[in-house]
C-alpha cells in the first residue's frame, strides 16, 4: 500500500500535498489533545521527585468514589433523553416523510432546523425563562387550575429532561426523516399487495429499513447528551451534578487535571466502543456479501462455455 502511495505522489505531486494541512490539523488539534489527556490520566509525578511513573490511581479513585455514581447518572440521563427523543421523533419523521406533500415538507423541515441551530445557551435560557417561578408555563397551568406550587417546575429532573429533549429532538428527527424519505415507496405497495396490513408493513418493512437512521439519531443524541453540563447546571440547579459538571469542576476549579483527564477518557471510551461495534457489524455484513459475489462470477464463466440446451 505504501508503495502505491509513493507511486501516486510521483504522478500527481502537487495535489497530494494539498491534503496535508487538514491532516496535520486533525492530528495536532484532535488526536494529540486526546493523547495528551490520556497521558495525563495515567502518568503522574512520584511524590517528592520529578520522575514520572505510570499509575492508574486516578481511575481507581473514580471507580471507588461518588464520581462513579455521577457518571452513571449522566449515562442514565443521556439514555433517557435519547429514548424520549426517539419516541417523539419517529412519529414526527414518519409523518413528514410519508404524509406531507413536497412543498409543505421543505417548510416544515426548515421550521425544525431553526431551533437546532440557535445557540444552545439561548434555548436553555428560553426554557429557564418559561419554567421559572411566575414564568409563563406556571401561569398557564395555574389558570387552568392544574398546578398551585410553581416551585416544582424548575431546578429538578423534569426541567433538565425538558431542556435536553428540546435541544436534541431535531437531531433525532433528521436522520430518521432522511432514511424514511429515501425509502423506496414501491416497497410499501408491494407489501400491501402481498396482503400486509399497514401495521404489519410498518413492522416488517418500514421499521427494519429505517434502523440505520435510528442508530444515527441515537448516536447524535446520546453522545453529546453525555457531555452536556450546561443544561443540567442551569436548569437543574447546582445540587444536581453530572459528568460534564465534574469535569468542569476538576479543570476549572480544583485544578485536579489528572482526575479530570481520567474522567474525560472514560467519556471517550463510550463512543469508541459504539464506533467499534458498528464497524465490526458492518464488516461482518460485507464479509457475507463478498462470498456471494464470488460465487456468481464463477457461475457466469461456466455458462459461456456450456451449450447443450437452448441458448436464447
Amino acid at each position: 500500500m505504501i508503495k502505491k502511495l509513493f507511486k501516486n505522489i510521483f504522478l500527481q505531486e502537487a495535489y497530494f500535498w494539498l491534503t496535508c494541512p487538514a491532516l496535520l490539523w486533525e492530528i495536532c488539534f484532535l488526536y494529540l489533545p486526546v493523547l495528551v489527556l490520556a497521558l495525563y490520566s495515567i502518568l503522574d509525578y512520584s511524590s517528592g521527585s520529578t520522575a514520572i511513573h505510570l499509575t492508574f490511581e486516578h481511575y481507581q479513585k473514580i471507580f471507588n468514589s461518588l464520581y462513579f455514581k455521577i457518571i452513571l447518572n449522566s449515562c442514565v440521563l443521556a439514555i433517557v433523553t435519547a429514548t424520549i427523543c426517539l419516541f417523539i421523533a419517529y412519529p414526527v419523521a414518519y409523518f413528514l416523510a410519508f404524509k406531507v406533500n413536497k412543498r409543505f415538507r421543505i417548510f416544515l423541515l426548515f421550521l425544525i432546523i431553526i431551533p437546532s441551530w440557535t445557540s444552545l445557551i439561548v434555548q436553555i435560557y428560553a426554557w429557564f425563562f418559561l419554567l421559572e417561578k411566575n414564568g409563563l408555563v406556571s401561569q398557564l397551568l395555574s389558570t387552568l387550575g392544574l398546578f398551585s406550587d410553581s416551585h416544582h417546575l424548575l431546578n429538578n429532573y423534569f426541567s433538565i429532561i425538558v431542556g435536553m429533549v428540546s435541544c436534541f429532538l431535531p437531531f433525532m428527527i433528521f436522520p430518521i426523516y432522511a432514511i424514511l424519505e429515501r425509502m423506496d415507496k414501491q416497497l410499501l405497495e408491494v407489501s400491501a399487495d402481498l396482503g400486509a396490513s399497514r401495521y404489519e408493513t410498518f413492522k416488517r418493512v418500514v421499521f427494519p429499513l429505517s434502523l440505520p437512521g435510528v442508530y444515527a439519531g441515537v448516536l447524535l443524541v446520546f453522545i453529546p447528551a453525555l457531555g452536556e453540563f450546561a443544561i443540567p447546571t442551569l436548569l437543574g440547579g447546582s445540587k444536581r451534578v453530572f459528568w460534564g459538571s465534574i469535569i468542569v469542576d476538576k479543570f476549572l476549579r480544583s485544578r485536579d487535571w489528572r482526575s479530570g483527564a481520567a474522567l474525560a477518557i472514560i467519556g471517550i471510551l463510550f463512543p469508541a466502543l459504539i464506533g467499534l461495534l458498528i464497524y465490526l457489524f458492518n464488516k461482518s455484513i460485507n464479509y457475507f456479501k463478498r462470498d456471494k459475489i464470488k460465487i456468481d462470477k464463477t457461475k457466469k464463466a461456466k455458462d459461456n462455455w456450456d451449450f447443450t440446451e437452448s441458448n436464447i
Binding site: 488539534f29 421550521l111 444552545l120 429557564f128 400491501a192 463512543p271
Partner: protein, 264 residues
C-alpha cells in the same frame, strides 16, 4: 395506495406533530416576544419597547463578546472550508486509500472532551488562551462537517466529470477551476454557513478555552443566566435566532439552486 385509516389516527398524528412543533418553539417565541416587553420584571407585559435592544448596544461587554464571536467564527469558517476543500481535491491522488474515517471522529467525540483536550495542550505548550485556541477548536468541529458534506458532493462529480475534462485536454488545475469548483460551490457555501453558525453558537469550547480577556457571546449569556433573568438576554437571543433563521433561509435557497443545476 388505497388505505383505510381510522379518524382517530387521522387527527392524532397531525396533532402530535403540532404539539412537537409547539414544544420546540414555545420557549423561543415567548422569549422573542418578551424581548420587546417594556418591563424589567419579566412576565408582565407592559407595552412594546425596543429599550432592551438599545441597552444591548450600549453595553460594551456585549459588543466585545459579539465582536470576538464574529471574528472567531469568520476565521474558523475560512480555515475549515479551505482545509476541507484542499483535502477533498487532493484526496483524489490517494485513490481509495484515503483515511476519511479520521475526520468522522470530529463529530463522534464529545465536545467537552475536545474542549479540555485543547485546554490541556495549549497550557502544556504554554500558548496563551484566547483567539487561537477558540479558532483551532472551532475549525476542528467545522472540519467534521465540511469534510463529509464536500465528500458527498465530490463523489458525484469525480471521477466521471474529472476524467471527461482531463480527456478533453485540461490539466487537473484547469479541471478544478472550470468544472469542480463551480459545481462544488453550493456545497462549499452551505458548509461555510453551517460552520459559521456552529461557531457562533458554540458554548463548550469557548467555555474552556476562553482566556481572561476574551469572551464569546455564548459564554457571556451563560454567565448572565447564572445570575438571573435579564430581559437583555432576551434581546440577544432574539438576534441570535434571526441570524440563524437567515442563514437557514440562504441554505435552503442554495440547496434548491444546487438541485436545479445538477438535476438530470
Amino acid at each position: 395506495m388505497v388505505e383505510s385509516r381510522s379518524i382517530i389516527a387521522k387527527i392524532l398524528q397531525p396533532l402530535f406533530v403540532c404539539f412537537t412543533y409547539l414544544f420546540l418553539y414555545l420557549p423561543i417565541i415567548t422569549m422573542v416576544l418578551f424581548s420587546f416587553n417594556n418591563s424589567s420584571v419579566s412576565m408582565k407585559w407592559e407595552g412594546f419597547s425596543l429599550r432592551w435592544y438599545r441597552q444591548l448596544f450600549k453595553t460594551p461587554e456585549i459588543i466585545n463578546a459579539l465582536q470576538t464571536s464574529l471574528i472567531v467564527a469568520f476565521c474558523a469558517t475560512i480555515l475549515s472550508v479551505l482545509l476541507g476543500l484542499w483535502l477533498i481535491l487532493g484526496s483524489r491522488t490517494w485513490k481509495s486509500y484515503f483515511p476519511f474515517n479520521l475526520f468522522y471522529t470530529n463529530i463522534i467525540l464529545p465536545e467537552i472532551v475536545l474542549a479540555i483536550g485543547l485546554l490541556s495542550i495549549f497550557t502544556f505548550f504554554r500558548i496563551s488562551l484566547g483567539y487561537i485556541s477558540l479558532i483551532t477548536g472551532h475549525t476542528i468541529i467545522g472540519l467534521g462537517y465540511v469534510v463529509p458534506i464536500l465528500r458527498a458532493r465530490f463523489t458525484e462529480l469525480d471521477p466521471v466529470l474529472t476524467e471527461a475534462s482531463l480527456d478533453l485536454g485540461a490539466s487537473y488545475f484547469q479541471t478544478v477551476r472550470k468544472i469542480l469548483l463551480p459545481l462544488l460551490m453550493p456545497s462549499l457555501v452551505a458548509s461555510a454557513l453551517l460552520v459559521f453558525t456552529l461557531s457562533l453558537d458554540d458554548f463548550l469550547i469557548a467555555f474552556f478555552c476562553v482566556g481572561p480577556k476574551v469572551q464569546t457571546l455564548s459564554v457571556y449569556v451563560y454567565s448572565m443566566v447564572r445570575t438571573g433573568v435579564d430581559p437583555t438576554i432576551n434581546a440577544i437571543s432574539a438576534i441570535f435566532l434571526s441570524l440563524s433563521s437567515l442563514v437557514m433561509l440562504i441554505l435552503c435557497f442554495l440547496n434548491v439552486l444546487d438541485q436545479v443545476i445538477s438535476h438530470e
